[in-house]
Symmetry: C2
Subunit: 518 residues, 2 copies
């Protein structure tokens, strides 16, 4: 079929060769290549800023987005710079020759474009997309295009199932070789709410396997991994994790060491700055992570309230059905609880403060926050009822007995020791500031989003001792001038940011005058 | 209402100060800030990679996306680096102190999120979005989110009108102080097709005002500005442009010197790498640019064909109605022509080759491509019929008389002289390669996309003399071994890329055997 004749020399590929250079810029999951504006290859090829280029050598091949550089100290005229993770992924040596060429967009972008056009995608499409994402073939804009096209109302429940499967297949899976591996997860959005650190000791004390892996906070003031890190090591290899779970039935570890659903981690890095949290992505993200972690049974907490992620009962029920459908197709036993998300759960917001609340509950301390204790018992009870030997309705009582008897505390201490106890607990932020009630009355609402933001500005979770300590909760009577909450920070600038935010709106509403407490 | 008391020192804002540094990386329309991973501010603030931060000093304020740096030679521990355009926009001096803080996403992202949720947006929303985009407050992912959310079926015709208005208001407007300012535009997608360079001389010779501003090629092998640049200066200030048009009635200039619809330019830089070309964005982009350039009357060419942008008559008619609706609401007289887009128009693809075709038509050279001549006469005729003194149906004959009499050529020479004639014409690429017919038969189709891609890989438009010269068009009989087209390149590597692409699929189909000519 081919009848091509050339009337020129065989082209010298040498013209497209450049020397590899590592550029110490962290562009996270986007491969970026840096080329000098006066570089011969750049000029000859007609590359443009933001072009996709392919870099190859000795069988290595990566795609990267091109940034144009005007400083030869950064990247020389005969050099090709790669950002840190692109350099690591390429696996070459500085100074070695690499070949650069125009790159087609990743193949699976065709499927993304079909999604943009409103079409339904198939399992193979989602598999191709997640594979290309994990291999860093997508630019940030391509990922944003996929997320937005499939966001909100863009995925039906079968597509959400396919996406979950594809994310699951994008990484490793843990296998605990047990018929019942229990887990508990919350969709997030409620400050405090550190129930996992109570559920895990209780249900593992009951004898169930519960290897809980959690993320660090991304947009919240503390995740379970951040809070557990106050007490123990959380960055554990998969091998250590398995030893610990064999010896104590459970763990409270950071999930990032295992490559569980890596496509999810990458997509989240683009999704969060956009403020997106679509139901389809949420279901696929949570279920792929849990199944990859080897869970067979899951209690899922969906908090519902005016400043929670889910704001009405119909929305909560729709989300519940989606979770149930995908879980059932993937053979995960799922029990959904729609809970009160109208205010933060517990008193502390920020790693040290939340760890304090958890330990108070475990110690049956009278100062323990009652709402955190009660919610954790209900969740633990539902997990315990996965046990075939437990009658429906008996779970809460069993959980309460384990907590009150001190067995939950002992179990938590065992888990802390197994993971590696921290020598000295990090201190609470010494710089403090109290927000006072402007008038006497009753606390009638606390804004989750506002309090989370104030705690983050105060330094949480990077500064473990930073955050907000709630001194009054909804329904509490307060008198004018009494402190509503206390902000803790380590650095003056953090306190200034948090103060500015709290001054513009404290997040508390008192009902005696109908005026917000600012 | 405020009753805040602090029990700490007033925080020293000094902790958030860094010294400004210019980083010579061109990140185009996205402001990027570079901060060292061990910088005190970075650690204290809990900024994350891809966070939005605000940089302020003496009333200057910009938003930027954060990249984390691990090399103190790039950005020191006490420095804040800004990419080139961010540095220019900020307007500060290297070494001066700047203040950095967490930034909220740009206000108008609320509207983008509503669009993602399927809501209709109002004029004010589009105005806020385009303002924030022009002020570089959007990250690339935020722009992608807007484009995808409003792409494809996401905008109704009133929203397209609002977007057009908002884009128009985002920049300057030229005013020619004439009742009839004629223009001609094609939606693109067809290689060759340099009709503007024939329409402008013809209609200005007829006495009409036609100040044609064009873009350079973005994803095509040549734009009108690239091709005109073979013959004359095209980068002209607004003042020069106005002088030239006063003296010759018209021009063929690059539109980038004037700030016409700058929001459009920025959005296109994100849209094109994603391969998006939604009807709403197309209408808003073209009409905002034309109205900003001062046009009152426009002939719009919508080529339709299996490898054109518009692939069916119903799709072409829908697009026509959209253009007509928005144009009529904005008082632009619009005449839409749906034309044959089944193959490239003219023989040459690439700046020098296309300029050659244009000049052959103007000189009434027997070697001039008949299809380019005929199409240009039809378009010019329709523009001429905007003249109230011309009877409907007489335009084509008037245009033909102007062309055949040599008045169009004389007019083109006058425009070239007015803009600034190039001393020596750039040479055609000396490295050539012919694609031969694998069998005898008749050319039954030529793939626009494939030929455009081969011409780009050969070096067009950066290398003016590079491209593809079509030796046979649809309907031509060819015999086995006869050349179908000739690729021209300057650099061996370019020829190799183009050869590889042409070998995988030549883009020609011959009908005698039913097999594609590879």
């Amino acid at each position: 079929m081919t009848d091509l004749q050339t009337n020129s020399e065989t082209p010298a590929q040498a013209a497209c060769h450049l020397m590899l250079k590592r550029v110490a810029i962290d562009t996270y999951s986007e491969n970026v290549a840096y080329m000098h504006r006066d570089c011969g290859v750049y000029r000859a090829e007609g590359f443009q800023a933001l072009s996709k280029i392919a870099i190859t050598n000795h069988g290595h091949r990566i795609l990267a987005v091109l940034n144009v550089v005007d400083d030869a100290n950064l990247v020389g005229l005969d050099q090709l710079g790669l950002s840190e993770q692109a350099f690591a992924q390429f696996g070459g040596q500085e100074g070695e020759q690499v070949h650069v060429a125009h790159a087609e967009p990743p193949m699976s972008m065709d499927a993304v474009r079909r999604k943009m056009g409103g079409e339904r995608l198939q399992l193979e499409d989602f598999q191709a997309i997640t594979r290309d994402i994990v291999d860093n073939r997508y630019s940030k804009t391509e990922m944003a295009a996929f997320l937005v096209a499939s966001g909100q109302t863009g995925l039906d429940r079968d597509e959400i199932l396919y996406l979950t499967q594809a994310m699951l297949e994008s990484g490793d899976r843990l296998d605990w070789d047990e018929a019942l591996v229990a887990d508990k997860h919350c969709i997030g959005g409620i400050p405090g709410n550190r129930t996992s650190m109570l559920v895990v000791p209780i249900v593992t004390a009951h004898g169930m396997l519960c290897p809980k892996t959690s993320s660090r906070a991304i947009t919240s003031p503390a995740g379970t991994a951040d809070t557990m890190a106050v007490l123990a090591e959380v960055e554990l290899s998969v091998e250590r994790l398995q030893q610990i779970v064999r010896s104590t039935n459970g763990c409270l570890a950071w999930g990032g060491a295992a490559e569980l659903s890596p496509a999810d981690d990458i997509l989240i890095s683009v999704e969060r700055p956009l403020g997106m949290d679509s139901p389809g992505q949420m279901v696929a993200s949570i279920l792929s992570k849990k199944i990859a972690a080897g869970s067979t049974h899951l209690v899922l907490d969906i908090p519902m309230g005016p400043t929670a992620k889910v704001r009405s009962m119909p929305a909560a029920q729709r989300l519940r059905k989606l979770f149930e459908y995908v879980a059932s197709m993937l053979n995960l036993q799922l029990d959904v609880m729609i809970t009160d998300g109208s205010q933060p759960v517990g008193n502390g917001i920020g790693p040290v403060l939340e760890a304090r609340d958890v330990m108070r509950v475990l110690r049956n301390d009278p100062a323990a926050p009652a709402d955190l204790r009660e919610k954790s018992l209900r969740l633990a009870g539902r997990v315990i009822e996965f046990d075939p030997d437990v009658r429906g309705g008996d779970g809460w009582r069993i959980a309460r007995d384990i907590l009150e008897s001190g067995r939950a505390l002992a179990q938590m201490e065992a888990i802390i020791d197994a993971q590696g106890r921290r020598g000295e607990l990090p201190a609470l932020g010494e710089l403090t500031l109290e927000m006072k009630a402007p008038n006497s009355g009753t606390v009638c609402s606390i804004d989750n989003l506002r309090l989370a933001r104030i705690a983050r500005l105060a330094g949480a979770p990077q500064v473990m001792g930073a955050g907000v300590d709630l001194l009054h909760k909804v329904g509490d009577p307060v008198i004018a001038g009494q402190a509503l909450y206390r902000i803790h920070a380590r650095y003056p600038a953090d306190l200034a940011f948090a103060r500015e935010m709290a001054l513009s709106d404290s997040g508390y509403v008192l009902d005696s005058t109908g005026q917000p407490a600012q």
